[in-house]
Assembly symmetry: C2
Homo-oligomer: 275 residues x 2
């Protein structure tokens, strides 16, 4: 990712701001999921490194835009000042725009995928990130900010805002690996449920975690009057709900015709992570 | 475009803001160019309507983001209040994000193009719109705002900010029509030079036009201390420069193995338009 950005024929301030956010780290759960799917089907994950970086570009763009003053107005992300705090609002918006756009270039550049596979991946990515997916989820999230949400509404927001991109990650791996339509369906369901579990754990960590570990102030959800799983279900109820979704995700995983041990361990990591 | 947006499974506020900007009209020069190229090669332009709408989506997203308070801070566009004036900043940013993202979905959905053609078009579009193209041009434009630019710097900004997307339009038509590599090169040069001519005419209209015709206040460039072609070359000099570029564009057009009368008439329109 960093070498791709460094080689871009683009204004240095733009490259700096793109690199700043891409280099900020994070869990890289999306690329890891896609590569783990390739591994599960005994394919070489290195063949799709650029395509999985594309997903991380899209994820990073969404964080930069979500953090903007007119959206969530966050000053810190992953323990570092957010893009607009460092580069100003205009640069932050454009760095996000550029990351989103370059993600599609990266997929077209891949040397191993067939044109059919590239078109399928681009369709999955643009739909996951678009109006019916991530952007739509961000709109619903902003619109739901000042009122109490039901469990269904909360799930719908998370499904769109983060779930679709996790589904995109496993589908990207599955498409590259030549998985059957059935296996793609199981992969998608696996991702859907670990996505919900992931979000519940995020909400739990906002209560039980430490700022050093999660990279942002603890208790910010409560301070922002946000509807969360622990708020709706209690802390114990939220933990049970998370375990339920992990259980369902593993059921789908077991139906897949491949060696999916690594995907099961990612589900396990989601429960046990502390950041 | 409007039917595609209306059918999207997305929050209604998001669809409204996307439709608002897409329906605001404009010259539609980019879609027309792509369709005119198809026509020049005796192919049915209707086969790529969705792919050319994708280009208009990307163009529209760029206008929404350029107009934002942290960028050009414009209140009017095409005679109507800008997106953030109507929907607020967060919605405007997200409407732009969604239009950019959906543009790639639209290309993947096309029923006539081969996967190879789609990948080639997506590569051309994402590169034209990305860090080395349109977004990079916007950064250079913002960075050059408070100082006098040379003619070379001015041309570099316009080449990136508007030229690349015009090149993308003719290449999209050319790829769909199965044009030869030579013809794609001539088409690209044709677009490059009508792009510069188009920008010069924009600068001239900002001095000589009327607000009713161009849809925004006249004289805004001078009020904003912007470097323009008339400022660098004088009004007559700018007109001569424009004619020079139209002349070069027609030279490239004449080398193309097709019936390019309609593309020549578009070059002619650029000189004569009053908005």
């Amino acid at each position: 990712m960093i070498s791709y950005l460094s080689q871009l024929d683009a204004p240095s301030t733009l490259k700096d701001s793109m690199l700043y956010s891409i280099s900020a780290g994070g869990k890289r759960i999306r690329p890891i999921l896609a590569l783990a799917v390739m591994e599960s089907f005994q394919k070489d994950p290195l063949q799709i490194v650029d395509a999985v970086c594309a997903i991380e570009f899209v994820h990073t763009y969404s964080l930069i835009h979500d953090d903007l003053p007119s959206m969530d107005n966050d000053d810190y992300r992953r323990g570092k000042p957010t893009s607009h705090k460092v580069f100003g609002e205009a640069q932050a918006i454009l760095a996000g725009d550029a990351l989103l756009t370059e993600s599609f270039t990266m997929i077209t550049n891949n040397a191993f995928l067939s044109p059919e596979q590239k078109v399928q991946m681009i369709a999955v990515l643009s739909q996951a990130a678009g109006a019916a997916g991530m952007v739509g989820g961000q709109i619903e999230d902003l619109e739901g900010e000042d009122r109490n949400l039901t469990l269904n509404e909360l799930e719908s927001i998370h499904e769109k805002k983060t779930g679709k991109m996790l589904e995109c990650s496993v589908l990207t791996g599955g498409i590259a690996a030549g998985a059957s339509d059935d296996d793609l369906k199981y992969l998608k369901n696996y991702a859907r449920h670990i996505g919900i579990a992931f979000q519940i754990q995020d909400d739990i960590l906002d209560i039980t975690g430490s700022q050093d570990e999660i990279g942002k102030p603890v208790g910010s959800d409560e301070a922002n009057l946000k509807t969360t799983y622990p708020k709706l279900l209690g802390l114990d109820g939220a933990k049970k709900e998370m375990e339920k979704h992990i259980h369902i995700s593993l059921e789908h995983l077991n139906k897949i015709n491949g060696n999916t041990g690594i995907l099961a361990s990612i589900a396990d990591y989601i429960i046990k992570r502390n950041h």
